[in-house]
């Protein structure tokens, strides 16, 4: 067997292109295309009285202006509610262009198409929209009191109320020796990838077909949505994902208004049309996340063991809910982390506000849940006077208890059943890595120098690799190279490298002979998308299964050609040979030739497969029953339920006694995502996740005023961390293979971000002896907390 690729730190095949400026992102395409700009609402809530485009018509280079009035057929209907749920009793979604009412600042009201973006913006600026402002509902409190309604047909602004429980939690809490109640809040943030969204559509009137490039996390589903909206046969629409400059969740939502408007305009104008989202548009019209308010009631015994846990929380879903209840459902279930409260009850309300809609952002409700659970653990430890790690250990689910049934229904509608994990071992590794037991000595030393330091930790369990399925296609070309494709998309996770590593091992071909394509519906039409840390689990398993099929077929064909038993054959470096007698063998390329009986020889290799060249039995069909021409296969992986990765972070901070500035001295991560396909890539995912966790804890928040104006809609005031704000991250791995999939892998994409706010809040609290119940926290806010304390 050739050197094993699985588990190796292979540098990425994508990078040669990307570091030399040869990436192809959405706006790098379609130089011949007309460009679109949108007129967006400056009001959070208003009726549209009149739209006057007269002035805009004078703009040189203007091609078209569209408003709701122009939308026909299903384009005139609201965009789809992607994930319906029985509890989502009042689901509302937006129109591609606002109809009579706008429900958040930034909602699209009109689309301008012009010769280029400059001219499109000239025209957009000259369109006069007359609005009749309505009272805005902003923030959870104003949504709950419901003095005003976002949607007049949605009483109380309540989109959904959902309850899950494993027993009578209140009774358990009431009879517990100790009870605590906490109010915990996380503010709004957003994915903010460096590349915004973008769509390029080309209509071929001769072929009556539409080719759409879009910066999305799901090409196959965008394809279906466009076909449905434009009333085109699905087979006339193809969607291709170019290089995507980051997604982090915001690009899994679809179709964005522009994803149907731009193709629709391209069909009408019979010219290519492109829209590239600018940064301001991204802030006011692409999805946000995180904003939730939680009330916790917990009962526990003298040792800090959880006897009953009851959580009630309010989720600000913004103006619309196209993505259903995924975020709050994840919070309500993943909140439990590695712990096993005797009884658990959770109830949440998903509330409408006149703000940008809320859909998953990396972590997807888990950072909130982790913050709630871990703050609760710290509060119990403080109240009991116990070490924070001890309280956690006492509540851990033990390895012997795996698989562990939490008795809840997860975001995929399946049982919340942990497949594997060793939480005590993870914690032991973390304590060692950060030096938990030596910290008091360090604190004392620091205190002597007049420095304030603190340490905190947080644990999480993450359901990864949710279904329903992903598939793979693997084909050996006659030159021996291998093409692999899977339907989900890539936004920089190194999928092409990771999947090639898997195929290289399964098929026995050199890594550099493998080319991987993702997110191109011309190549693979059945897929779900890239989210929930699912690519390695889903597409990784799918291409592994597919490669095995191809391998079996190669061996069958080769055994005839080599007149050797399949069992005696092996594939080494792209060559099928008899084990122990490598001189007797044929290249996979030749096997590919033989797999495809030919009448015509288009090249020399093909000649070997023509009807007079092969010594085939004239009395059997050239393609045997049950076989198909070509050395290729398609297969799918569809697990019964998710696999559960876990991890624990510890943070050491120093706070400035005068300015209340917070500096992270150490950030330690112990991470268990099962087997690692490429540790370099997994660590990169953790680094990036932690940076977003640090941002969410200390810098990033989206601030709305009471009128629904987003006050920091730019990179100048939305404080995404620079290198100067992100600490060096120390990582240790634990490997508990998943029993659920052929590779033993678990997802790793979101993990890093989950415990950030919880761990950093704990560390600051430990340094400052203040009580932190709300994140993020700024120096100014810490300064206020200090004053309240004194």
């Amino acid at each position: 067997m050739s050197t094993r690729m699985f588990g190796e730190r292979i540098t990425r095949t994508e990078d040669q292109r990307l570091v030399s400026g040869n990436g192809r992102y959405l706006d790098d395409l379609g130089h011949d295309a007309l460009e679109a700009a949108l007129v967006r609402s400056p009001h959070a809530h208003a009726r549209i009285v009149d739209i006057d485009v007269t002035d805009a018509l004078e703009v040189d280079g203007l091609v078209a202006i569209y408003t709701y009035e122009d939308l026909d057929g299903r384009m005139a209907e609201p965009l789809p509610l992607l994930i319906p749920h029985p509890s989502l009793t009042h689901g509302r979604t937006q129109y591609a262009l606002a109809r009579e009412e706008v429900n958040h600042v930034g909602e699209a009201v009109a689309m301008v198409v012009a010769r280029n973006r400059y001219l499109a913006e000239d025209a957009a600026q000259r369109i006069r929209v007359e609005y009749a402002p309505l009272p805005a509902v902003v923030g959870i409190e104003s949504a709950r009191t419901a003095d005003h309604l976002v949607h007049e047909d949605v009483p109380g602004n309540v989109a959904a109320v959902m309850v899950q429980q494993t027993g009578d939690a209140d009774a358990a809490i009431d009879s517990a020796p100790h009870v605590l109640e906490l109010e915990l809040e996380i503010e709004r943030s957003a994915s903010t990838p460096l590349e915004g969204k973008g769509v390029l559509a080309r209509w071929d009137d001769d072929d009556k077909s539409l080719l759409v490039h879009t910066s999305t996390q799901t090409a196959t589903s965008v394809r279906q949505a466009i076909a449905a909206k434009l009333g085109l046969p699905v087979d006339r629409v193809e969607v291709v994902t170019p290089d995507v400059g980051g997604g982090f969740g915001v690009k899994i939502v679809h179709p964005w208004p522009e994803e149907v408007l731009v193709p629709w305009a391209a069909c009408r104008l019979q010219q290519p049309v492109k829209w590239t989202e600018d940064r301001r548009e991204h802030f006011v019209s692409s999805a946000h996340e995180r904003g939730q308010l939680h009330h916790v009631r917990v009962g526990y015994d003298d040792d800090g063991r959880l006897l009953g846990l009851s959580v009630r929380f309010w989720h600000d879903n913004g103006a619309y809910v196209p993505y259903g209840l995924i975020v709050p459902i994840i919070t309500s279930t993943q909140l439990l982390g590695p712990y096993k409260p005797a009884v658990y009850r959770v109830e949440f309300s998903s509330l409408y506000t006149n703000t940008v809609m809320v859909t998953p952002y990396r972590g997807a409700g888990r950072p909130q849940g982790c913050f709630v659970m871990e703050r609760t653990m710290d509060a119990i430890a403080a109240e009991r006077g116990l070490d924070r790690t001890v309280v956690r250990e006492r509540n851990f689910i033990l390895p012997a208890e795996m698989p562990y049934d939490q008795g809840l229904v997860f975001q995929d509608g399946r049982q919340l059943l942990y497949d594997s994990g060793d939480y005590p071992a993870t914690l032991a590794k973390l304590k060692k890595l950060v030096g938990w037991d030596e910290f008091e000595a360090f604190r004392a030393q620091a205190a002597e120098d007049g420095r304030r330091v603190g340490i905190g930790l947080a644990c999480y369990v993450e359901g990864t690799g949710v279904g329903p399925y992903e598939g793979g296609h693997v084909r050996v070309e006659t030159d021996g190279s291998v093409v692999v494709s899977t339907g989900l998309t890539s936004q920089g996770q190194g999928h092409a490298t990771m999947l090639a590593q898997i195929v290289a091992d399964e098929l026995g071909v050199p890594f550099d002979r493998i080319r991987v394509t993702t997110g191109d519906t011309r190549r693979f039409k059945y897929a779900v998308g890239t989210f929930a840390s699912r690519t390695a689990v889903m597409s990784g398993s799918a291409v592994a299964l597919t490669a095995r099929k191809v391998r079996d077929k190669a061996l069958r064909i080769a055994s005839t050609a080599l007149e050797a038993a399949v069992e005696d054959l092996e594939i080494v470096d792209g060559r099928v040979q008899v084990a122990g007698a490598p001189e007797a063998g044929i290249d996979l390329g030749t096997v590919a030739v033989l797999s495809n009986p030919l009448r015509y020889a288009f090249d020399e290799a093909a000649g070997a497969a023509t009807q007079f060249a092969t010594p085939a039995d004239p009395n059997t069909p050239p393609v045997e029953a049950g076989e198909a021409p070509g050395l290729e296969a398609v297969d799918f992986y569809s697990p019964t339920r998710s696999t559960f990765a876990n991890g624990m972070h510890a943070v050491v901070v120093e706070t400035d006694p005068d300015t209340a500035e917070v500096r992270i001295l150490r950030y330690c991560v112990v991470h268990d995502c099962g087997t690692l396909v490429n540790p370099m890539i997994v660590e990169g995912q953790i680094h990036g996740g932690v940076a977003q966790g640090v941002g969410g804890a200390l810098y990033e928040r989206l601030v709305y005023d009471e009128h629904g104006q987003l006050l920091n809609a730019s990179f100048m005031d939305f404080l995404m961390p620079y290198a100067s704000e992100v600490p060096t991250i120390e990582i240790d791995h634990l490997v508990t293979p998943s029993p659920l999939n052929p590779l033993g892998v678990k997802g790793a994409g979101e993990a890093g971000v989950i415990p950030g706010s919880a761990a950093i809040a704990a560390a600051i609290e430990d340094a400052e002896q203040v009580t932190i119940r709300r994140m993020p926290i700024s120096p100014s806010e810490l300064f206020d907390l200090r004053r309240k304390r004194t």
Binding site: E121, R280, D658, T659, Y722, S778, P779, D784
Partner: protein, 292 residues
């Protein structure tokens, strides 16, 4: 986010630039480094009908260090001034302040005079000009006028520059011999505008006693504010009495709260950073004054 159309002027001389500006009345806007103006234009918050580009004017791209002053032309980039050894020797505070101005990439294009004319209440450079008692040189068709820093900054974003006038240079007096200086600030992220920033100049006598201690604070009012804390010097030892120092600062700052920090927190920073800046400045002064 693309700018509105405008008529572009590239004058061949300062005279032509001034004539063009004057001819346009209020409708002309000067483009120097453009690190503030261009994003404003891309957001269409600024849409001048005419843009007068002075980047090509060699006569403005100069830094003159004389016995008395450092004169910086409107074409001189912040990065160049920051690195100029003669400037560092004559007015160390300028380099100390420039190191806090955004990021190096911005300083490669941004100009010192452009920043002064922009008059942002959180900008570092106006504090330096005010603290050192510098002047601005304003050209108009019939001549030049010098405006003292104290009369130049009228409020947030507003200065004494009249329509049709071109700020051609800024003059920074040499820091007194035996003086030390420092600039410290707190911002949310490295390179962001300061929540509060303090420029300090201290002078000590041969025995190390403080004879003069002055600061200029940014981010705590409509313009940078100068505070003379010399009265807080405590008798013989010649050190500053912290509470007296804080009292003087409190009397001069009137910060506003915003989404990044409350007014109270800014007041706290004003005190703390004044203390830190002066501490560094005094150390500098006691180590033989302007560091060479």
């Amino acid at each position: 986010m693309k700018p509105s159309p405008f008529t572009y002027h590239r004058p061949a001389s300062v005279g032509e630039a001034v004539a063009t500006l004057a001819g346009l009345g209020g409708s002309g806007k000067v483009l120097a480094g453009g690190q503030s103006l261009v994003p404003l234009m891309s957001m269409r918050l600024s849409a001048p009908d005419h843009l007068i580009d002075i980047n090509g004017l060699a006569e403005l791209d100069m830094v003159e260090v004389t016995d008395g002053t450092v004169r910086i032309g409107a074409g001189a980039r912040q990065a160049r001034v920051e690195r100029d050894p003669a400037v560092r020797e004559a007015v160390p505070l300028l380099g100390q302040a420039l190191a806090n101005v955004a990021h190096p990439t911005i300083r490669n294009r941004g100009t010192v005079v452009g920043s002064l004319v922009h008059a942002d209440p959180s900008a570092e450079l106006p504090a330096v000009l005010l603290l050192l008692g510098g002047t601005m040189e304003l050209r108009f068709p019939d001549g030049v006028r010098e405006v003292a820093a104290a009369d130049f900054f009228l409020g947030p974003m507003s200065t004494a520059v009249r329509p049709g006038e071109l700020a051609v240079a800024a003059r920074f007096p040499r820091q007194p011999a035996g003086s030390g200086s420092a600039f410290v600030e707190v911002s949310r992220r490295h390179g962001d505008f300061a929540l509060c920033g303090v420029a300090a100049v201290a002078v000590t006598d041969p025995d190390g006693a403080i004879t003069s201690a002055r600061v200029a604070l940014v981010g705590v009012g409509g313009t940078a504010v100068v505070v003379d804390v010399t009265p807080a010097v405590r008798g013989s030892g010649g050190d500053l009495d912290p509470s007296a120092r804080d009292g003087l600062v409190d009397g001069h700052v009137d910060p506003e709260g915003d989404i990044h920090a409350t007014a109270d927190y800014r007041r706290q920073l004003a005190r703390v950073l004044t203390g830190r800046a002066l501490e560094q400045a005094v150390v500098g002064a006691r180590n033989g004054g302007r560091r060479r």
